[in-house]
């Protein structure tokens, strides 16, 4: 290997230093927030003068925080199901179909990924204003589905790419109808792709804030919107506590996803 780590000599230490700095840069804000959430000062002073779990108590005592967490969870869950379902169908037709304009359609499906979210948010807001979807759960779901779908299509599409269509054909000749074959053979065989799609879709909705701010109403707020709104009123460490829990939950999902991916790799490769 050209860039053998062990043969880098003094450069090795440069590399290690840079890597460490990048890791710190990425991790410090999280550590910082977590530390503040346990700090005893109510002015978000760092380093905290003392330690307390008081802010977590306040967080769980306030029904509005729980309400917004529940809203987030509900929207993310529905978005996940829809995104995986629609993503599977879309990826299937992009992967198998031979219709004209297939590549254009593929690009179209992926535009929400490259379009600035604010642009999307303003456009959706104006459109939803006309059809009365702003401030509704359905509006939230549609908005988040838009940004979640590309993740699903990419994840499921690449899983389908690695799946030999002949296997599905074999199931059909064995007597399974085309949809039976897809559900009983293709879906289990690409389950890692579906799972990846589910995790990314969930996260896309779960910690999305820009669209959510446009979609939200005083009575319908997701957790990130609640954090943002609270932040504008007063700077309480409860925000840090909520943020910490949000990050923890996200990390938990990522870890599960990584574990599942490793498990499925071990399953397919001897």
């Amino acid at each position: 290997m050209l860039l053998d780590f062990d043969r880098l000599g003094p450069w090795k230490w440069v590399l290690i230093t840079i890597t460490t700095l990048v890791c710190l840069f990425l991790l410090l804000p999280i550590v910082f927030i977590a530390a503040l959430s346990f700090g005893s000062s109510q002015w978000l002073i760092f380093p905290p003068p003392g330690w307390t779990t008081r802010w977590y108590g306040e967080l769980f005592a306030d029904p509005r925080w729980l309400q917004s967490a529940f809203t987030s969870l509900k929207i993310a869950a529905i978005v996940t199901v829809l995104s995986v379902g629609i993503g599977f169908l879309a990826a299937l037709s992009l992967n198998r179909g031979s219709f004209a304009g297939r590549e254009v359609l593929r690009a179209l499906f992926l535009t929400p990924m490259i379009l600035p979210v604010v642009v999307l948010a303003v456009a959706l807001y104006a459109f939803f204003l006309r059809i009365g979807l702003n401030g509704t759960t359905l509006g939230f779901i549609i908005a988040h589905l838009l940004i979640a779908l590309p993740f699903s299509i990419i994840s499921i599409g690449s899983a389908l790419e690695g799946f030999d269509k002949s296997i599905e054909d074999a199931a059909i000749l064995c007597g399974a109808s085309p949809w039976e074959a897809r559900l009983r053979v293709t879906v289990p065989a690409i389950s890692h792709g579906l799972f990846g799609a589910a995790v990314f879709s969930f996260l896309a909705s779960w910690d999305e804030v820009v669209l959510a701010i446009f979609m939200a109403s005083p009575t319908l707020q997701t957790l990130p919107v609640k954090i943002w709104a609270t932040l504008r009123q007063d700077l309480t460490p409860v925000i840090a506590a909520a943020s910490t829990l949000l990050i923890l939950f996200t990390m938990l999902l990522m870890i599960i996803a990584a574990l599942v991916r490793r498990g499925s790799k071990q399953g397919t490769k001897p």
């Binding site: 030999d164 002949s166 296997i167 054909d169 074999a170 199931a171 059909i172 000749l173 064995c174 007597g175 399974a176 109808s177 085309p178 039976e180 074959a181 053979v185 289990p188 065989a189 389950s191 399953g267 397919t268 490769k269 001897p270």
Partner: protein
């Protein structure tokens, strides 16, 4: 004609401007082992896929037991198939893979277990029920695929180059197994390959495909001894072709002028056109070789260019007039072999009744 088990009638498959299969007509008897043999792109797979129902013919009909198959979707045709690529369901064990067609058919559990056991015994993989496909060799996977395709007793088994991914030794081993399974089950098999040796070893009859049509159908022996076209002659077995002039035609036989000026009469002539030339097929092992100048009874004179020892045969490459070369095959231990050396003059002769000429 109506006694045929499978009747393929004038089927045609068009992909836009490409004609993949044109006017293929074929009758297959019950229990027959029929092989589609032909070079890459000759339409073998496409024909098989139309039987499986994955492709729909542009024209023509396919009948099984006198009834058309074309209005039955693939999953209701009750046909077994083994594919070129490994198609075991990766998330299921070997036992579950073989049980899959039976579970789809909602057979009682006890029957499923018994049939799976029988099928795995048939392919000699008893005791592998709980293995995952990824942990099996290619040969084993194809045998499981065979068990899965046979477990529901289909009347027809399709196989599309099932052994092409395996090495030669393993391939021969599984060819032998396939032959045994064919004899044990009596299933009608349609087998696709581009390996002539495999076709000859396995089949009752072979359909030779070339450019989307069937050139000839017959047993391996017929194809070898009585090829109908120059393509079949060149595809089955080793062959020499020499260019000759047609001197005269008497019915289905011809008198030909060979390079060097001598003529032979009574050569079976297959006419593909009105041309004045014909390609003469000479099998290397059917040419008689003598050391010395050509006499009156000999057809060609030449000089030895090269001698290649090939184990059970020795190939002698002979320069003949008009800058051509002929390969002559002598079996191991042939009394003449010791006396052969490069540059030696030789005389060649053959029995005109057993060779073939293809008019161009």
């Amino acid at each position: 004609m109506t006694s045929a088990f499978i009747e393929i009638r004038d089927i045609k498959k068009q992909y836009g401007p490409i004609t993949a299969v044109k006017d293929v007509t074929l009758d297959i008897r019950k229990g027959e082992f029929m092989t589609f043999l032909g070079p890459s792109g000759s339409g073998k797979s496409t024909t098989l896929y139309m039987l499986a129902g994955f492709e729909y013919p542009t024209a023509g009909d396919i009948r099984l037991n006198g009834r058309t198959l074309l209005d039955t979707p693939s999953h209701k045709r009750n046909i077994g198939m083994v594919f070129q690529r490994y198609t075991l369901f990766p998330h299921l064990t070997v036992g579950e893979n073989v049980a899959f067609p039976l579970r789809i058919r909602r057979l009682p559990k006890a029957d499923v277990e018994r049939k799976v056991r029988e099928a795995l015994r048939l392919v000699r993989l008893e005791g592998f029920e709980d293995r995952k496909p990824a942990l099996m060799s290619g040969g084993q996977q194809q045998r499981v695929a065979l068990a899965r395709a046979l477990v529901y007793d289909p009347p027809v088994l399709l196989m599309d180059e099932p052994l092409s991914a395996l090495d030669k030794k393993l391939r021969e081993e599984i060819q032998f197994e396939i032959r045994r399974i064919h004899q044990e089950t009596g299933v009608t098999i349609l087998y696709v390959t581009h390996d002539q040796e495999e076709a000859l070893r396995l089949s009752d009859r072979i359909a030779v495909f070339s450019q989307g049509k069937i050139d000839q159908i017959g047993s391996g022996q017929t194809l070898y001894a009585e090829p109908a076209t120059r393509f079949v002659a060149g595809f089955i077995g080793d062959s020499n072709f020499i260019d000759t002039d047609v001197v005269s035609v008497e019915g289905s036989h011809a008198t030909l002028a060979l390079p060097g000026g001598r003529t032979v009469s009574g050569v079976p002539l297959h006419s593909a056109g009105p041309g004045k030339t014909a390609a003469l097929l000479l099998r290397p092992e059917r040419i008689d070789l003598k050391v010395g100048e050509a006499g009156a009874a000999d057809a060609l004179s030449g000089t030895i260019r090269d001698i290649t020892f090939l184990g059970n045969n020795t190939d002698v490459l002979v320069d003949i007039p008009a800058g051509k070369q002929l390969s002559v095959r002598l079996p191991f231990g042939h009394p003449m072999l010791d006396g052969l050396r490069p540059a030696l003059p030789v005389a060649l002769s053959f029995n005109p009744a057993t060779v073939h000429a293809f008019q161009g």
